[in-house]
């Protein structure tokens, strides 16, 4: 199986590489459209600030490629947020895959949300064998509100979408690669999805 992690200069890719290796797979980093298209699974990571990450996607032309991919694609954290219509962070237009606008938590809660929180209302084969209310590791200041494409929700200030799915596109606000054995199981589920 060929796993490609999209390399567009955004943040901590090594953790995802290591997590995939622990599961017995190997992944390659690439920003090459042909290589990304030919992959069995594509992971779209993202750490950092939305507008500068989007700028890097635009410069590399990956913004037009990603929405056309046919194999399972997993956006993680900022990757998931960039797959939405837009995000308040840096007033950034996203890839428009998920039909939801990302907004900021209010100052009623500490921002960023940092730490372990529960996921529930699990609705996808991504969560095969995962029980409701498991804890995942999250670090974020912006969130996707609960919506039709939500496949998991989490409570922080309010109930929001902590994972999204539309057809072959998946997104998790949490970091499966940093969420202990349960997180690794979710990552494994993604890698074992049928194309």
């Amino acid at each position: 199986m060929k796993i490609v992690i999209i390399n567009y200069g955004a943040g901590n890719i090594q953790s995802i590489m290591f997590a995939i290796e622990r599961l017995g797979f190997t992944a390659v980093l690439s920003n090459n459209p042909a290589e990304i298209k030919a992959a069995d699974k594509v992971i779209f990571p993202g750490v950092g600030e939305a507008s500068s990450a989007m700028k890097m996607l635009l410069e590399s032309g990956l913004d037009t490629l990603i929405p056309t991919l046919k194999q399972p694609v997993l956006g993680i954290c900022l990757g998931m947020q960039l797959m939405c219509n837009k995000t308040e962070e840096g007033n950034t237009t996203g890839l428009g895959i998920f039909d939801v606008d990302v907004i900021k938590f209010s100052s009623k809660v500490k921002v960023p949300q940092m730490g372990w929180n529960q996921i529930y209302n699990l609705k996808s084969s991504l969560f095969k064998g995962i029980t409701e209310n498991e804890y995942m590791y999250l670090v974020h200041s912006y969130y996707a509100p609960n919506c039709a494409e939500a496949i998991a929700t989490t409570d922080y200030e309010l109930e929001y979408a902590s994972a999204l799915q539309k057809n072959n596109f998946y997104g998790t606000q949490f970091h499966p690669e940093k969420s202990g054995d349960v997180g690794e199981k979710i990552l494994r589920n993604f890698l074992e999805l049928n194309n």
């Binding site: 943040g11 901590n12 890719i13 090594q14 953790s15 290591f18 997590a19 290796e21 622990r22 750490v47 950092g48 600030e49 900022l78 100052s107 500490k110 921002v111 960023p112 949300q113 940092m114 730490g115 372990w116 929180n117 529960q118 804890y135 590791y137 670090v139 974020h140 200041s141 409570d155 922080y156 970091h175 690669e177 940093k178 969420s179 202990g180 054995d181 997180g183 690794e184």
Partner: protein, 251 residues
């Protein structure tokens, strides 16, 4: 609900884990990678690696160690000690660290906080603040608590938040190594003053001390070293007791 976090801190010197009493008299408490794996398996929520000799000796943090830890464990970890530039941070993040902790370098060059937040995002910028009370005022100290500054803890905390820090790791030098409990009053004041998470550090000796730092100190996370390294407190037992005290934890 978002849980309170328990964070073992591995103080590293010459590639080994050490823990000092009031930062002197270092004792050897094992291999960092092995300890990291044990803590991860026992339910630690995060890990912090502090290269305690780095600031004094101008030594860069242990990139090889970061790689080994990142390839072994599946929970987040922070690396601190001797980090003074954007490129220092870049190499640590590239090798698998999730966050970095800066201390003296932030005091000497506060713009570093802005630069790191801008380049890597606030979520990976932890500002560590060591402070102790002098004439009733909490004064920020540098170089492992040896050198006092002009800065007041609360003013500095507010400033680092405004500059883009994602989290504050507050160590009370008055409490550190005493095992008499955390500096809960100062912690609670900090937690109300800023709107980013506060990690409590310095003074853990009993399970009750952790309960108090979350209830009275309103901390978001608690960090400790020797009580974990020498198995005076087991993380599993600690988290169960916190849960029994109605404190939300991941079990």
């Amino acid at each position: 609900m978002l849980t309170k976090r328990i964070i073992p801190c591995l103080d590293i010197k010459n590639g080994r884990t050490v823990k000092g009493v009031n930062f002197v008299d270092l004792r050897d408490a094992g291999d960092p990678v092995e300890l990291a794996k044990i803590y991860s398996d026992e339910g630690a929520d995060e890990l912090v690696f502090l290269d305690i000799s780095a600031t004094e000796e101008r030594r860069k943090t242990l990139v090889d160690l970061v790689r080994k830890v990142a390839s072994t464990i599946n929970i987040p970890f922070t690396v601190g000690g001797g980090i003074s530039s954007v490129s220092d941070v870049e190499i640590l993040l590239q090798n698998g660290a999730d966050k970095v902790s800066i201390n003296s370098s932030a005091v000497k060059n506060p713009q570093l906080i802005n630069d790191l937040a801008q380049k890597f995002g606030s979520q990976c910028v932890v500002v560590a603040i060591d402070a102790k009370q002098i004439d009733g005022k909490w004064i920020v100290h540098l170089v492992g608590g040896k050198v006092p500054t002009e800065l007041n803890l609360f003013d500095w905390a507010k400033e680092v938040e405004e500059r883009g820090a994602g989290e504050i790791l507050f160590t009370s030098m008055d409490n550190d190594g005493t095992k008499n409990g955390f500096a809960n009053e100062a912690l609670a004041k900090l937690s109300q003053l800023v709107n980013i998470p506060i990690i409590a550090s310095g003074g853990a000796g009993t399970i009750q001390h952790f309960v108090d730092c979350f209830n009275a100190g309103k901390a978001d996370a608690a960090l400790a070293a020797s009580v974990f390294h020498f198995k005076e407190i087991e993380i599993k037992t600690l988290k169960q007791e916190l849960k029994n005290n109605n404190i939300e934890v991941r079990i």
